[in-house]
Symmetry: C2
Subunit: 522 residues, 2 copies
Amino acid sequence: MPKEKLSFNLKTPKGTKDWAGPDALLRDRIFTTITNVFKRHGGTALDTPVFELREILAGKYGEDSKLIYDLQDQGGELCSLRYDLTVPFARWLAMNPDVRSIKRYHIAKVYRRDQPAMTKGRMREFYQCDFDIAGANFDPMVPDAEVLRLITEVFDELGWKGDYTIKVNHRKVLDGVFEVCGVPKEKIRTISSAVDKLDKLPWVDVRKEMVDEKGLDSTVADKIETYVVRKGARDLLDSLKGDETLLANGNAKTGLEEMGLLMDYLEAFNVLDKISFDMSLARGLDYYTGVIYEVVTEGSAPATSSSAPEAQKLQRSGKKEKARVDVDEDRSNDPSIGVGSVAAGGRYDELVGMFSSKAQIPCVGISFGVDRIFSIIKARMEREKSEALRSSEVDVYVMAFGGKGFTGLLKERMHICRTLWDAGIKAEFFYKTKPKLPQQFKAAEAGSVPFAVILGEDELAAGEVRIKEMGLPEGHPEKDGVLVKIAMLPSEVKSRLEQRNTKVNGDTDEEVVAGKVQALEV
Amino acid sequence: MPKEKLSFNLKTPKGTKDWAGPDALLRDRIFTTITNVFKRHGGTALDTPVFELREILAGKYGEDSKLIYDLQDQGGELCSLRYDLTVPFARWLAMNPDVRSIKRYHIAKVYRRDQPAMTKGRMREFYQCDFDIAGANFDPMVPDAEVLRLITEVFDELGWKGDYTIKVNHRKVLDGVFEVCGVPKEKIRTISSAVDKLDKLPWVDVRKEMVDEKGLDSTVADKIETYVVRKGARDLLDSLKGDETLLANGNAKTGLEEMGLLMDYLEAFNVLDKISFDMSLARGLDYYTGVIYEVVTEGSAPATSSSAPEAQKLQRSGKKEKARVDVDEDRSNDPSIGVGSVAAGGRYDELVGMFSSKAQIPCVGISFGVDRIFSIIKARMEREKSEALRSSEVDVYVMAFGGKGFTGLLKERMHICRTLWDAGIKAEFFYKTKPKLPQQFKAAEAGSVPFAVILGEDELAAGEVRIKEMGLPEGHPEKDGVLVKIAMLPSEVKSRLEQRNTKVNGDTDEEVVAGKVQALEV
């Protein structure tokens, strides 16, 4: 390469990052926890391409369509990177009309040309973990209730028991409310978007947006307020059911009946106490048709909404979207940004029909924002100074030592490693023909490898090697390790590993992993 | 949506596909097998963005650069989809100069605007599974030998024992041969590319390309022939070491010494018999500097190279590349295309230095082509009519039945499911308030669910449910199931699942998975 080429811009593209070491491992363990729950509920894997034909994505995301990444036209089809996993799933269902019932999960990256806030887990490339149930002829709210139950299993098993809330609302209830309050039909979606901001802005600002920007009659706005500020559980449902004006509206009536059924089922699933029926929840996407939900936890909300008047002004003004795309800094330190919801979803009965009316099939699902979940867990670990996870899982470091004339025993170390690998044991050795013993110990310690197997000329001649648990205290009877016959080495290592895991964690390897994630309680 | 919008082109982009059901599961199991081997050798996960700054990829892939997917310029940075996982790894190493030693693995999709041959696993979007060892100051060929050992573990554990060959060569040996034969310096890479085609074309065609197209002196070509047609093991090495002209060349001498070391180490690792020292192996990419290798197996080679003269003519003519990009069909049925190598790699000591001379670090690695491996395993399963893998892993189907006035017992079914889920058991139920019993059995059978738990009014009143193993033969004492106390249900299900796995497979669940993949012997 010519010299001047060395002036590379050495970085990942804006809003993206590399995942390495303990971070990558922690994230993988979150994936494992979530995947296990998905499988427990009968989920089957679906994997779709990272890009779709552009026309597949068109008309699905409303104003956010401008955040879609397009591939360059290099001849052939026009494609775009996927924006979520829901539209690809709907496209797949439309292409496979024989599938009349499926629970599918999909864990993959999605792409949005949004303004990043990296340390808060708001990225341009980020993972979603989706679980959706599609099926014709299911009875109302039964799969919906199972999705909500599944959400509680995920967060309980991540160790957040008691420290998260699932906000639930129903599009039909909301539409009914807007109709009853007198919102003109063509303004329902835009007024709904304004309501959705109530988690970030006070009512007075939302009202201003409705009246000043969106031209809503101020008496209508005032009526809306009496509904959307309400939250509760069965009490709220009962009070709404006593509202005869509301009940006279078809949408509201259906929505409230379904919310009643849902609560009954959530009680049977023992998760009613995790739910908040929240009339201000509206969700941005157009395709929802029934129940909608969002999971919030400590860290979801902005620190103080009043501390960032600039951001609010930007948000209220029409320039918000443009600013999000053009301003070129990471907004991680902007206090007006929380990580947002950590999971969200709802029922979308008509999305598949947008691709093929023949294949039309009702769906309900949930998407977990793993990068945000990761950010919260990591911040907590740092606060609590938890021990970082090991980035490799090596159990044995094979080393050699000897006095004057030491050959390095390279082939012998290789032979011992091969014996361990053949037995499925994770092992490594130093890539030097004649390494010094401290070098080898240092490498084993750097990787937190629990056991050393040490080769010496004399011991080898006797068909033996020394096995030594790392980090034993002075005076421990096995501080210098014990000699074992080479033929017995794999079984000896396995039983010592098992003992050690029981001693340290009272549990098997697999469960240690789950335990580590669970130990990170909110 | 307006009606005319329903004329969507309902497909995935060219050269891409969805992965669902048993295919997705089989592929995931291949990933698991490979990941386990990677971890056994101390691999740590690295995940990089799907796109890189365009300048990072520039100048790394020679002629194949035209196959790179670019993102559209939507303002901001110019980016391209990654073409492999090696260059992103090198970029990461250059950005993290403190890392002086790492074994990293990366399993992710890469993108090439090549001509697809879908059923043979040649796609535009496909998975690679990479394992690489980077490290300064390692002794020659030690990590290289471990990478080759790792390759054998992967294929042995996929059940291909004895049915694959690792072709190995050394760039320095090859360069030495070209120098000794009299290839002008500036023609070495292009002549090397011609030699690389010897796995698809007879020598006479390769010679023609060298002499007629690339202007090589015909006596030089004839000298090259005496070397590149040779393959073997230690015998070949010994014979080359007896070639004084060759040994007088510095590159050849170093290369042959390293090949000798490598063979010694491979013997210590017990994998020498899987290796073929193949002088015709050249590998296309520019960045290799030392040992290179490729794994071939049944299905790697084209059916008959003579049966597709058109394809050969295309390949020999300069128009090949253009044709690959423009012709718009899937070439799955073209007999001139085998799946190609199923894994390939080598040493690349200077790639990281192309990004940052300060961070320069030698590397060696391997990339497994999982989609090709999948295609071969799947074709074999179809030939052998192996039972397809289940696409979900549900263990229990919870159902209800009753006579006249049957309520459907929906909440009771929910309650039982919740009890099973709480115990970590994979369970599902029918999403109807009053399902018929045959409907429920049909659903359980469709999913090959091994156990049914059946609820009836009378049994519930007695605090009991019926547990029934599916598919028991007529006359079996438990054909109609057995009653168990609800409080005992989770432990009863667990012990029955364990018994069943031992009965069916003589092994635990986890090992059943590995067994299934291993059972698919070549």
